[in-house]
Symmetry: C2
Subunit: 306 residues, 2 copies
Amino acid sequence: MSESAPPPENPYAAGAAFVDGKYVPMAEARMPILDWGFLHSDCTYDVVHVWKGRFFRLEDHLERFERSAEGLRLPLPHTREAIGEILSECVRLARLRDAYVEMICTRGWPPVGSRDPRDAESRFYAFAVPFIWIADEEQRKRGLHLIVSSVQRIPPQSVNPVFKNFHWGDFTRGLFEAFERGGETAVLVDGAGNVTEGPGFNIFVVNGERVVTPDAGMLEGITRRTVMELCEECGIALEAAPLPAQALREAEEVFLSSTAGGIVPITRVDGQPVGGGAPGPITGRLRDLYWSKQEAGWHGTPIDYS
Amino acid sequence: MSESAPPPENPYAAGAAFVDGKYVPMAEARMPILDWGFLHSDCTYDVVHVWKGRFFRLEDHLERFERSAEGLRLPLPHTREAIGEILSECVRLARLRDAYVEMICTRGWPPVGSRDPRDAESRFYAFAVPFIWIADEEQRKRGLHLIVSSVQRIPPQSVNPVFKNFHWGDFTRGLFEAFERGGETAVLVDGAGNVTEGPGFNIFVVNGERVVTPDAGMLEGITRRTVMELCEECGIALEAAPLPAQALREAEEVFLSSTAGGIVPITRVDGQPVGGGAPGPITGRLRDLYWSKQEAGWHGTPIDYS
């Protein structure tokens, strides 16, 4: 009897990507340096996650991706159905039950001699990697420590945050400021001093049975929409309205929403404890519902791994 | 006698790049999709040009690149001398006498599990391609048609334009607006309605023997600095000061400065002719001096092609 060989390593274990019409292991996923998606950050993207073998709100993410591309005048080279299939195949190849799945459309680049973006042919990239958490396990349990940054979010008059984009220079500045001030993440303000969003998340404050989230200057997150639906289901009043920074410091509870981890409590703002300094009951109730409904198949699209 | 083979094609004829410590033909120059230089536009760059075998103001560009990297907290993996040598080698390999030479430093990416930019290892890319002109030959001769965009330049409170960056979403919007309004390029305003800069250029107005250029909200271009030196040499008064959009429409002459073409006249603003509608005498004088002094070796670093 021959020795049995160990099962072959899956070359896609660290993730699978779709580049130039081919599927490749994540470590080989490379793009041309000349792509204006890089050189001018002229691109859009979206991220959908997979949890226990199901996409969560896949159609909503695909629909927003199309709206972003249209808003930025980036012709998508694939239909919605084709993109859904590409994302599924990336997850399948990587054999991931919990995944962070990103789709990107870039400008490409115009032929030599032209500087006109209308002469460029847009390009599509996608990848699936193991699920990414916006906060580690300890932080999710005890709550994140947030600062209200002095950096202003890039205003909609310059770059429209509704069209999801990689213009993160302001977020990166805010993050470094947070680290210096003893925080772990940052929320940015607008020119009027109202909070907008943080790097990869929307923000919410809770007072009594009332939740408030900013209404302008930020991405309309799909997880933000999910929070709205969960509040409605629970009979909790939710309002989208201007949110002064001071309201965060005075709130009973603060939490964030993100595709990269759902609903995460924030228990310190600018070094001061929020409420009692521990995750609050409304946050906990919404978070538990977020996960339990998802695991029961809510807004889910099962992936065929066969 | 054997047939003589044709001389081998230079594989670097379309340009040469430096990626991951190796020199490669431009068509093979690719970067990892996971690099936050792309996914968060977390990077800086600079562009120096080569004209008739000499870098123009190489030290000034290297110095600004270092300042940008420091301002954005991107540790440069190479010394100034090493970067100068890499750029020279790219030009040499491509055998270019006139070249557009770009250096880029990106964040890289943190190890799996971290979202902290301090855990990332920055990366360096460079390339040399044939000289790029911001305007084609006809446009340079008759003057560019500019619009004053309704899009606002990303403010310094969000992303500091002094640290050269790829946050071009506002410029791209401005360009599409220009095309729709019959223009060829755009200049963006700040929140107060003063002009700042356009995609890849600084702007100047001329009235009599007096030149004005914006003083805030824009990159401090090396070619802008060159214009200042040329004005001084010619005894032309130059002032950096807030410049209302209306001043462009009422100017006798308007021109732009860019590494991608030097000094270029603008002869229409918002569809109306500037001055007489033809390039003006001060613009012409500065442009001629820009090229003649450069060809005489001013601020030049010769490249050893052997």
